[in-house]
């Protein structure tokens, strides 16, 4: 018998997490070890164990809080929570899922704007060339985030150390890359 | 084939698997109702010729289940059962009995969920294999011939 059958609230986020990433939120017994070891817990609005608790309520208002939280974007997927969790709950996979849900439901937290801008700039950079073009990434990120003055000191130093290219390297399979992006854009 | 309800007979020992199946009940774990249990004191008691009789009389599948190795209530009954089982299996293979239809497993008195699992897996498998007619036909035919010869 699958765990899902125990759920009463089929609209709940916890239910879709079970279905999509096979993480059973009811396994969490709130010991808090994930939050204790999470490097970014201090900066989160809801540390990982709190996210688990909110999910367990299967209350749609709480689900909404999660999708609108800053926490899900601050998670750096360092996997510390999973490696120490006594119940081996795969919080990192769950976080990936929550981020994608948050975007598809257009509930992205305003404070996460820069983080998403960076991720998008990153993917944009590889979408057309196949490989990361770091200078292009920085410029595109600045354009998306409007943080024009950020890291102005960094680039010249990188250039002087030969760590920043001016021209992107374009792989031969660039058309194929474009198709990969197209086919996976849901 | 969808309305085929396999007949599965389970030969189980009293101390481990029978008690394990009791636990499945106490835990209210649901499983397929096709399996019917025959209780033995120990798997060591099971005469495997009985399996052939069961097949000849229309069983589609058989489960033999007892205590885990080293857990036998009678010290070593399951060990002897296992040894005889290995011999018997080869003999059956040789005779052309479909050994996929026999599940040999260990279910302890504490493994209620496992019992349900063994039953369901076996029933699903037997459902896929379909009714076991070939052995029955073979036996009946030879009986007929014997009768004729008399």
């Amino acid at each position: 018998m699958s765990h899902s059958e125990h759920h009463t609230e089929r609209n709940s986020l916890a239910y879709s997490i079970e279905k999509n990433v096979e993480v059973y939120t009811q396994k969490c017994y709130q010991c808090g070890k994930c939050s204790a070891g999470c490097p970014v817990a201090e900066d989160m609005d809801f540390p990982p164990s709190m996210i688990m608790r909110l999910l367990q309520t299967e209350d749609l208002a709480n689900d909404d809080k999660i999708l609108r939280s800053h926490s899900i974007w601050l998670c750096v997927t360092c996997e510390m929570c999973l490696s120490r969790c006594p119940m081996e709950i795969d919080i990192p996979s769950m976080m990936d899922y929550l981020r994608q849900r948050s975007r598809s439901e257009k509930k992205v937290n305003k404070k996460a704007k820069n983080i998403i801008a960076f991720h998008k700039a990153f993917l944009n950079s590889i979408k057309y060339t196949g490989r990361l073009f770091e200078l292009g990434l920085i410029l595109d990120y600045k354009r998306q985030s409007l943080n024009l003055m950020q890291d102005v000191a960094l680039a010249p130093k990188m250039i002087s150390r030969g760590k920043l290219h001016f021209i992107p390297f374009i792989i031969k399979g660039k058309n194929q890359m474009a198709r990969i992006f197209k086919k996976t854009s849901n | 084939m969808s309305d085929f309800e396999p007949k599965v007979v389970a030969f189980v020992c009293n101390w481990c698997t029978y008690a394990g199946a009791d636990l499945t009940g106490t835990s209210r774990i649901k499983y397929a109702s096709n399996v019917k249990i025959i209780r033995f004191p120990c798997t060591g008691r099971i005469d495997f010729m009985l399996l052939l009789k069961a097949f000849a009389n229309g069983a589609d599948g058989i489960i033999v289940s007892g205590c885990h190795p080293n857990d036998c209530h009678y010290t070593s009954g399951n060990f002897h059962a296992k040894r005889r089982w290995i011999m018997f299996k080869e003999l059956m293979d040789f005779m052309g009995v479909d050994m996929n239809r026999v599940t040999f497993s260990w279910v302890s008195a504490a493994e209620g969920a496992k019992w349900a699992d063994v039953v369901n897996t076996t029933v699903t498998k037997i459902r896929e294999l379909g009714p076991y007619v070939s052995y029955k036909e073979l036996v009946n035919k030879s009986v007929e011939e014997e009768v004729k010869n008399d």
């Binding site: 808090g32 | 009791d22 009789k53």
Partner: protein, 667 residues
């Protein structure tokens, strides 16, 4: 002509909710040889049993099938009822409609059909049942208690005080167990040794108790009332009768650097040693693994200094054969050493210790004479952190179950620390506080309210050392899962209680079952908590699961009563479900061909040879014969017998054949 009565029980609604009991009773009633078939709400109730009894008389039944719950539950009940109505109890069988049918299937046609099939098999079987008479066997009125901790001590004293003989076997050189290591006990804070040592002495002096320390069970054969036990008395390298226990040898032994097991490795002991000052018996043993003489062939200083010349280097292990009627297993528990938890730094940092080490430290007779001091530098810790559930309730790295005693001993440790270091700060990281028990929760509240122990709800993620301090990174889940960092001087891990090393091995020797954690299994989780599934073997204390002292002692007394009840009978009756080798009139005698393959597989040595002689006294045939006192009815010989000369009463070839046919064939 068989006249079978069938009684279908609804079990309230437990059966009738999914099985159409009326239809079952009706269908079965139409079967050949079924003289009576009925249904009733509660067959096991008094009116239910009366119904059966009346039917037996009224319908002259020759066999009864009660279709209700598992025979493991109520077979004795119904057999007794039959006996009371004058029907041989072995002519009664049960069809398991509850555990094997109504509880595991949905309500539908197939389920009712399965119920009918199950009842039919038993009807067919019971037709072939024969009236059997119970077997009587004598009882050896000597009990064996394995393990000399508090549970074993209590059981031994209780049994001995009923006037029966007890043999106590203890693996280590002294009795006392873990309790002798403890400082003070919750919830009263009385000194563990003060209450335990008088009991230890009582065991040694009791006229009904024979104590073998440094001894282990080698093998167990036989059955209830008649066990044959071999024990190995390991050589102590000493003549106990001559030794006065003066202790001179232990002070003169040049080898002094062996980690002291009693002090949990926090002190050293010599190679010839008494584990602790209050040990019973207070006689040393030589640890052959570490003794210089045994390793290098030279030394013998103990022999030289011994005033009574009691040292015996060439003493061999001794094997004793004992006749035992009942066995109490009280082998106790161990703690899971915390090395499997690298994030908590146990074993890497000296100032991280486990609960048992803290007990030794807090004990007045311990390595620090009762002062709480850091193992690294001997300083008194000003800030101490206790981590509960360090291994328990952790399926990933530790064990899934709750070790039960840690909440209480952690509260006690924090309290003891505060009593000894008034200005110190004690923190406890916990997940839940499980303090059910008389005066237990009050005890925990006292630690919090009066001794100001800082309880933080949350688990610790990691502990590491920095500048001689221990950094404990935890979380306060009651503050929205805020990370908490404590700079501590010492950390105590409440490690899980686990089965003793060797428990599995012993369980196999005793033929009793054990669970996946290697704890001994009780016969029934609620109603037979001190029995095992092997008759005549009982459990006491933490060998069953982690337990505190009061629980261990209660269970020990419980098992003692079970032993006493057993010993109150001179003869035992046993179910006559035994194997028999057939007998015919001469010159056949039996179809047995005398191959004696059965003898080689019988686990109970129950198969004997019987010789038949002719008039001249010449042996004409030798066949197998089963000693019904020894046979336990496993039936392995039956399945193996090539000439089909052996059958098992109650599970005869005919009976099982009839069952299989009933299951498969339409009626």
């Amino acid at each position: 002509m068989a006249r079978i009565g069938v009684f279908i029980c609804h079990c309230g609604e437990n059966i009738s909710a999914t099985v159409d009991c009326g239809k079952v009773a009706e269908t079965i009633g139409k079967l050949k040889h079924v003289a009576y078939s009925t249904e009733y709400k509660y067959m096991c109730s008094d009116p239910g049993q009366t119904l059966i009894k009346d039917a037996i008389k009224e319908h002259k039944l020759t066999g009864v099938v009660v279709s209700a719950c598992s025979p493991r539950m109520h077979e004795p009940t119904f057999r007794k009822a039959c006996a009371e109505a004058g029907l041989n109890p072995f002519l009664c069988e049960m069809a398991n409609l509850r555990e094997h049918c109504s509880w595991v299937h949905e309500k539908n046609e197939l389920t009712t059909q399965k119920a009918i099939d199950i009842v039919r098999t038993q009807v067919e079987k019971v037709k072939l049942n024969s009236a059997l008479q119970p077997i009587k066997v004598p009882v050896t009125k000597t009990a064996m208690v394995i393990g000399g901790g508090i549970a074993g001590i209590q059981a031994a004293l209780d049994i001995a005080n009923t006037g029966h003989k007890v043999v106590m076997i203890e693996r280590s050189p002294s009795i006392g167990g873990h309790m002798s290591q403890l400082s003070e006990t919750f919830p009263t804070l009385d000194c563990s040794q003060c209450i335990l040592t008088p009991r230890m002495v009582e065991v040694a002096q009791h006229p009904n108790i024979t104590l073998y320390t440094y001894a282990e069970v080698e093998s167990v054969e036989g059955f209830i009332g008649n066990f044959k036990v071999k024990i190995r008395k390991k050589a102590k390298s000493l003549d106990e009768k001559i030794c006065t226990g003066c202790g001179l040898c232990t002070t003169k032994c040049p080898q002094k650097k062996i980690p002291n097991e009693f002090e949990q490795g926090m002190g050293m002991r010599p190679a010839i040693y008494v584990p602790f000052p209050q040990a019973v018996p207070n006689r040393p043993v030589i640890d052959k693994e570490h003794c210089t003489y045994y390793i290098k062939g030279k030394c013998k200083i103990c022999e030289v200094v011994c005033p009574t010349k009691a040292i015996r280097f060439d003493q061999p292990d001794e094997i004793l054969d004992l006749e035992i009627g009942a066995i109490v297993v009280a082998t106790g528990f161990d703690i899971k050493h915390a090395d499997f938890f690298p994030e908590y730094g146990y074993g890497k940092y000296k100032d991280i210790i486990d609960g048992l080490q803290f007990e030794r430290m807090a004990s007045a007779s311990g390595p620090t004479s009762g002062e709480i001091r850091r193992p690294s530098d001997g300083q008194v810790p000003k800030n101490i952190v206790f981590i509960a559930c360090a291994g328990s309730r952790d399926p990933a790295k530790g064990i899934a179950y709750c070790s039960k005693i840690c909440c209480m001993y952690t509260a006690k440790h924090a309290m003891l620390y505060k009593h000894k270091v008034h200005e110190g700060r004690a923190h406890v990281f916990y997940m839940d506080i499980r303090s059910g028990g008389k005066n237990y929760d009050e005890f925990v509240r006292r630690a919090i309210e009066e001794d100001h122990v800082n309880y933080i709800r949350g688990r610790v993620s990691t502990v590491f050392e920095r500048d001689g301090k221990l950094i404990v990174k935890g979380v306060d889940t009651l503050l929205g899962a805020q990370p908490v960092e404590i700079v501590a001087d010492m950390v105590v891990l409440a490690t899980a209680g686990v089965a003793n090393a060797g428990a599995e091995d012993l369980a196999q020797k005793l033929h009793v079952s054990y669970d996946q954690h290697k704890f001994f299994a009780e016969a029934h989780p609620k109603l037979k908590p001190v029995e095992t599934n092997t008759a005549g073997i009982f459990l006491a204390g933490a060998c069953q699961n982690p337990k505190d002292i009061p629980d261990a002692v209660s269970q020990a007394s419980g098992s003692a009563v079970k032993v006493a009840a057993l010993f109150s009978q001179d003869m035992l009756t046993r179910e006559p479900l035994v194997a028999v080798v057939n007998r015919y009139a001469p010159p056949m005698y039996s179809t047995c061909v005398g191959c004696f393959l059965c003898q080689s597989v019988c686990p109970y040595q129950a198969i004997e040879r019987e010789e038949f002689k002719n008039r001249e006294g010449k042996v004409v045939k030798t066949v197998a014969k089963i000693n019904e006192g020894l046979c336990q009815g496993c039936g392995t010989c039956v399945a193996l017998c090539r000439s089909k000369s052996i059958d098992l009463l109650g599970y005869s070839n005919n009976q099982v054949h009839a069952e299989v046919m009933a299951l498969l064939n339409e009626y």
